[in-house]
């Protein structure tokens, strides 16, 4: 598709419409001359040829756009059955990318679930050991101050022995849980690989789309269709809608009109009287 955009010697893009414009300018000059010298038949022929040139150029541009679209579809590896409405897309890269992203979601979800399961399992063990240690420490202090009776000491003696056993079993389980939690983080590697591939695909799609928009722009220009501007009513509605649209986490925290964290949320809300 890149062959449709010519690059001049000074590396600037050359507008493919420039040849047409030059030709039209030349014709216009001739037309003025003919009209001024009252050669109306010649003038009429000139107008006819100008319209033909413009139409021809437009058909060519539309042809380029169509080829561009075709290339884009081939490059995206969109395997679409265009005879069906809506087109059936089965084995395309885009379709593949969505299933890959679904896989990422599944993998992160599983890892989060299993990690939390292990924390849920480990937390009571740690809490119980801590609780028992606190009780025994108080008893130990009483023993040191010689405030313990012989009966109480026998109880304490057995409890201490139980605690040491609990400690051994408990810490072993805690260790195992911690190791499993570390192992669970392996999802980072797997999802990272998948995400890299999808990012690559998106980059390709974006490049091709930019080329398409450029081509479409030339067709619009020669056909006299104005491109939408920021002043358009529809654009304004769209911009206003975007302000309130849910879009998930902000990646670029320095973006205008976005808060950088909880502190800024609190400041904003308190400025509103919260």
């Amino acid at each position: 598709m890149a062959s449709n955009i010519r690059i001049g010697s000074d590396n600037r893009l050359i507008n493919p419409n420039s040849d047409l414009i030059a030709e039209l300018k030349l014709c216009a000059k001739l037309l003025t001359e003919k009209l001024q010298s009252d050669q109306f038949e010649d003038a009429s022929v000139l107008i006819q040829s100008m319209v033909q040139t413009r139409d021809h150029h437009m058909f060519q541009s539309v042809g380029k756009l169509t080829r561009g679209l075709h290339n884009a579809i081939v490059n995206f590896h969109v395997d679409a059955d265009l005879t069906k409405m809506p087109p059936q897309i089965a084995d395309s890269d885009i379709h593949d990318a969505s299933s890959r992203l679904n896989y990422v979601m599944q993998l992160t979800q599983n890892a989060a679930d299993r990690t939390m399961d292990m924390v849920d399992e480990a937390a009571p063990i740690a809490a119980n050991l801590g609780q028992e240690a606190r009780v025994l420490r108080a008893e130990w202090a009483r023993l040191k101050r010689r405030e313990m009776s012989a009966d109480e000491f026998r109880g304490f003696y057995d409890r201490m022995s139980d605690f040491l056993e609990q400690m051994e079993v408990g810490t072993e389980r805690l260790n195992k849980s911690l190791q499993n939690i570390v192992l669970e983080q392996g999802f980072q590697d797997l999802t990272g690989q998948v995400l890299k591939r999808v990012i690559g695909l998106i980059g390709d799609v974006e490049k091709d789309l930019v080329q398409l928009v450029l081509l479409a722009g030339h067709v619009e220009e020669v056909a006299g269709i104005a491109a939408p501007t920021a002043d358009d009513k529809e654009m304004k509605v769209l911009i206003e809608k975007r302000k309130h649209e849910a879009e998930g986490p902000q990646i670029n925290k320095t973006r205008d009109n976005v808060v950088a964290g909880q502190d800024e949320v609190d400041d904003l809300l308190s400025s509103l009287g919260f």
Binding site: D113, K243, A246, G248, V259, Q262, V265, L268
Partner: protein, 123 residues
């Protein structure tokens, strides 16, 4: 206190549930979007609602509006816990009558503070 947690991701519901349990709130229930949450709120005597914003079906902001326009639920305290961080959205939530707004990712401390502040004010 009976609390409803609304988020489309089960992981986030679980995190919030665990944090609430640590704060002493054990009677928590879950819903995955506004459509499932609203009938639960209408039929069950919930005293607090924690909701995400961006959810399929019915979003959190629409759920908030539905709650505020319902005669029975109008005064229910609502805490928004969301990744949505645009100023216009926070203002929109405030105007819709939210009681607190926590942006994800959040700390246990931030969640605790906001919840305590809400109950302090509601009484």
């Amino acid at each position: 206190m009976k609390i409803l947690i609304v988020d489309d991701f089960s992981t986030m519901r679980r995190i919030i549930k665990n944090l609430l349990r640590d704060l002493g709130f054990t009677n928590t229930h879950e819903a995955d979007d506004g459509v499932t949450a609203l009938p639960m709120l209408k039929s069950g005597d919930f005293q607090f609602l924690v909701t995400d914003w961006n959810m399929p079906g019915m979003t959190g902001i629409d759920l908030l509006r539905a709650v505020r326009s319902d005669e029975k639920l109008a005064t229910l305290p609502v805490l928004m816990v969301t990744a949505e961080a645009k100023r216009d959205q926070i203002i929109e939530a405030a105007q819709a009558g939210v009681n607190g707004y926590v942006v994800k990712p959040f700390t246990a401390q931030a969640l605790k503070e906001k919840i305590e502040k809400i109950f302090e004010r509601v009484g």
